[in-house]
C-alpha cells in the first residue's frame, strides 16, 4: 500500500504534464506549437530528473533539450515555412495505436511489481554534481580529493569518451553546416520535375 507523500504528488503532477505535453507535441498540426509542446515536455522531464536526485542532469536537460534543441527546431521551421505539417492518415493512426498500446502494456507488465520486492523499493541516492564531475572527467581508478577533503576513487572514468564526444559534436556541427549550406540542385528544374514524376509513378 502506497503512503501519501509530497514527492509522490510532485511526481504525478510533473509526470502527467510531461506525458500530456508530449502527446500534444506529437499530434499538433502546427509545427511551432508542436515544438513548444516538446520544449515544455522536456522541461517537465527535467523536473523528473530533479526528483530522481540528479540536479546536474536536470539543469542539462533544461539547457540543452528544453532550451537549445527547440530553438534550433523553430528556426528551421520558420526558415522553411513548413509551419503546418500534413495531417496524419486515419488508418496509420489506428495502426500506430495498435502497435504503441500493446508495446506499452507489454512494457508495463515487464516491470517487476514492488510487492515482489523487485527493483522498485529502495530509496533514491542523490548524485552530487561534484561526484558526477569526478566520474566524468577522470580516468578509472584515479583518486580525486573532493571539496570537503574526502577522497573519491573514480569507478567509471569516462574522460576519453568525454573527449571523443566533444569531437563527435564538432564533426556533427561542421557536417550539419556543410549539409545545410549545399546549394540545391540547380542544373535544371525539369530534372526535378522528372524525378517527381517518377516518384509519383512509383506511388
Amino acid at each position: 500500500m502506497e503512503t501519501f507523500s509530497p514527492s509522490l504528488v510532485a511526481f504525478y503532477l510533473i509526470g502527467g504534464a510531461a506525458v500530456l505535453l508530449a502527446l500534444f507535441a506529437v499530434t499538433a498540426v502546427n509545427l511551432v506549437r508542436a515544438t513548444l509542446g516538446l520544449a515544455f515536455s522536456f522541461f517537465a522531464v527535467g523536473g523528473i530528473f530533479w526528483l530522481l536526485g540528479s540536479p546536474f542532469l536536470a539543469v542539462l536537460q533544461l539547457v540543452v533539450n528544453a532550451g537549445a534543441i527547440p530553438i534550433v527546431t523553430i528556426f528551421i521551421v520558420m526558415m522553411t515555412r513548413a509551419r503546418s505539417a500534413k495531417p496524419s492518415r486515419p488508418t496509420s493512426a489506428v495502426l500506430a495505436l495498435l502497435v504503441a498500446i500493446p508495446l506499452l502494456v507489454a512494457t508495463l507488465l515487464f516491470v517487476p511489481s514492488p510487492a515482489t520486492g523487485g527493483l522498485g523499493t529502495t530509496q533514491v541516492t542523490p548524485l552530487s554534481v561534484e561526484r558526477l564531475g569526478v566520474e566524468l572527467l577522470s580516468q578509472r581508478g584515479r583518486e580525486s580529493t573532493l571539496s570537503d577533503g574526502s577522497t573519491l576513487t573514480s569507478e567509471a572514468g569516462t574522460l576519453i569518451a568525454f573527449e571523443a564526444t566533444a569531437v563527435v559534436l564538432l564533426v556533427a556541427f561542421v557536417g550539419a553546416i556543410l549539409l545545410a549550406q549545399r546549394t540545391p540542385v540547380t542544373e535544371s528544374s525539369t530534372e526535378r520535375d522528372t524525378e517527381k514524376g517518377l516518384a509519383d509513378a512509383d506511388a
Binding site: L8, L31, L57, A85, L108, A156, L169, L179, L198
Partner: protein
C-alpha cells in the same frame, strides 16, 4: 512512497507516445520531435535505474545521450533543410526513393 516503478511506468508511457508520433507523422520535423520524446523516455530509464541503484554509470550514459542527441538534431535538421531545398517539401512521402 515513490518507487522505481513509477519512473519506469512514466518512461514507458512517454516512449509509447513518441512511438505513436513517429508512426503517424508525415512531416520530417514532426518525426524528429517524436524521436526526441522517445529519447527522453530512455533518459528517464537510465537515470532512474542509476539513482535507485546508486550506479553512476547510468547518469554518465544519460549525459552522453544528451550530447549525442544534440549532434543528432543538428545533423537531422540539416538533412531536413537539404531535403526541403531539393524537393520543396519535407514529408516522408518524398523520401520514397531512398532505394536509389
Amino acid at each position: 512512497m515513490l518507487t522505481l516503478n513509477h519512473f519506469l511506468g512514466l518512461s514507458a508511457l512517454l516512449f509509447a507516445v513518441g512511438l505513436y508520433g513517429v508512426l503517424t507523422r508525415r512531416n520530417l520535423i514532426a518525426v524528429l520531435i517524436s524521436v526526441e520524446v522517445m529519447l527522453n523516455a530512455v533518459l528517464i530509464n537510465f537515470v532512474a535505474f542509476a539513482r535507485y541503484g546508486d550506479n553512476v554509470q547510468g547518469d554518465l550514459f544519460a549525459l552522453f545521450i544528451v550530447a549525442i542527441a544534440a549532434a543528432e538534431v543538428a545533423v537531422g535538421l540539416a538533412i531536413f533543410l537539404n531535403v526541403y531545398k531539393h524537393n520543396g517539401a519535407a514529408d516522408t512521402d518524398v523520401l520514397r526513393r531512398m532505394k536509389q
